[in-house]
Amino acid sequence: MPEAINAGDTAWVLMAAAMVLLMTPGVAFFYGGMTRAKSVLNMMMMSFLALGLVTVLWVAFGFSLAFGDGGNGFVGDLSFAGLTPLVDAFATNGGTYPIPALAFAMFQLMFAVITVALISGAVADRMKFLAWGIFAAVWATLVYFPVAHWVFDFGSAELGGSGAGWLANLGVLDFAGGTAVHINAGAAALALAIVLGRRIGFGKTPMKPHNLPLVVLGAALLFFGWFGFNAGSALGANGLAAVAFTNTMVATAAGVLGWLLVEKLRDGHATSLGAASGAVAALVAITPACAFVAPWGAIAIGVLAGVICAFAVTLKYRLRIDDSLDVVGVHLVGGVIGCLALGFFATTSVNELGKDGLFYGGGIGLLGTQAIGAFAVLAYSFVITIALAYVLKRVVGLRVSKDDEVSGIDLAAHAETGYELGESGGGGVFAGIGSSSVRRAQEED
């Protein structure tokens, strides 16, 4: 047991939690810029609704289901419901850390929020806002909280202690959430996109990103926040955090280069959307591996993610599945790459709590373990999401009307438009001279 809170560690974990929080608005910008102008607000609102719902659920029982003191390999218990039992306690997770338990609970909360927000990219332009809200709350409860327990809960006070997750016990390496966050969200996105169906005009009418600077801004916020996500997962201001930080940076740099190279050779131009996507794909892939590989391994993982994901995002047109903003091509594929790459690139020379992969004489065992981890999360998330989506489709309906989808979900669902470009929707010069008048405004002097 530590005798006192360590100020440096606590400061870093609190800061890291705030950085991971920033990733959810980052996703909102990243996705929002990629939709058409008529649905940018709905896209961003899905992230903010997830933030609201998941946070309340996390305090009520989510943290406890994921990291509760008891429970079994599949799910925690309700020992920490309401979070009050955590006040004045040290964080425990396969050991006791000299940081407040609440700091750990808030850090982990941000992961739960962004995992749900990530799924929204698959349902752009067409999902009922109420249905999304119910989906987000139920999915977090049935899928994220248990899966976070499987992967991240190393047992109450000692490694493998009571209530450790079954994948953690199995020895699946996932430092910051390649399985629990990215494979999980990607598989759910695939399932939800299948049940929801394609947008009107998918594959025929152009559905171009309406604001690429927003996409780049979102990618920049994600990139910055991801240092909290990965390096913060060390739960201390220490050497391991620095390893994770380094690998996060170099993998992302390599991912940008990989994606742009594919575009230049295949399409003729290196694009801004490609640079942003390559960065995110590499960030996803390095997430499980960031504290278990050497920097050259991180570069290899980044390039692999950039190149493979650049091809993966085109598959949806052949499969005729409208995963609108490529949650599958980037997060599911990137997550699987990172998870499996550990089977090759993991080395105990950077982290003695890790394992050696194939390239370090560790044999094929780790690769097998990683494959089990990736497949288990993928299959569980996919199956539960399919079932949940079908129930929601029957009970409340998943899609907005055709009329609302074509005219724009922003106006239909939120009674707002993203951009005031003149009342005719054409240009800026006539704004304010049109035919609408002010209702319920302040009285004129």
Partner: protein
């Protein structure tokens, strides 16, 4: 009086303006336009998905001139806007019945 309308490549706007000023033309109207002619549109690729965009960006220049100056102005615009490549644009002229300067009420040639 004539109305001359020219659709040209955006990067040629400065050259055309200079040529018109050189011929003593004192006013013109410029607007952004999009359209296509023989060159058709262009392609854009987003995450590997290729979109054919029919319309290409152009600049529309409108200028009112006296009948006597009209042919010379058209020649000046064409000379300034020409690159010899497909997509250079078009210039056309139509007769104008009346022109009024809003500030003074002047009519006809005086209003140009």
């Amino acid at each position: 009086m004539k109305l001359i309308t020219a659709i040209v490549k955006p990067f040629k706007l400065e050259d055309v303006k200079a040529a018109l000023e050189g011929r003593g033309i004192s006013g013109l109207t410029v607007s952004e336009a999009s359209g296509y002619g023989r060159q058709k549109g262009h392609t854009e690729v987003y995450r590997g998905a290729e979109y054919t965009v029919d319309l290409v960006p152009k600049v529309r220049i409108e200028v009112l001139v006296d009948d006597a100056a009209a042919d010379g102005v058209i020649e000046a615009i064409v000379a300034a806007a020409q690159t010899g490549k497909i997509g250079d644009g078009k210039v056309w002229m139509v007769p104008v019945d009346a022109v009024v300067r809003v500030r003074t009420g002047e009519r006809g040639i005086d209003a140009i």
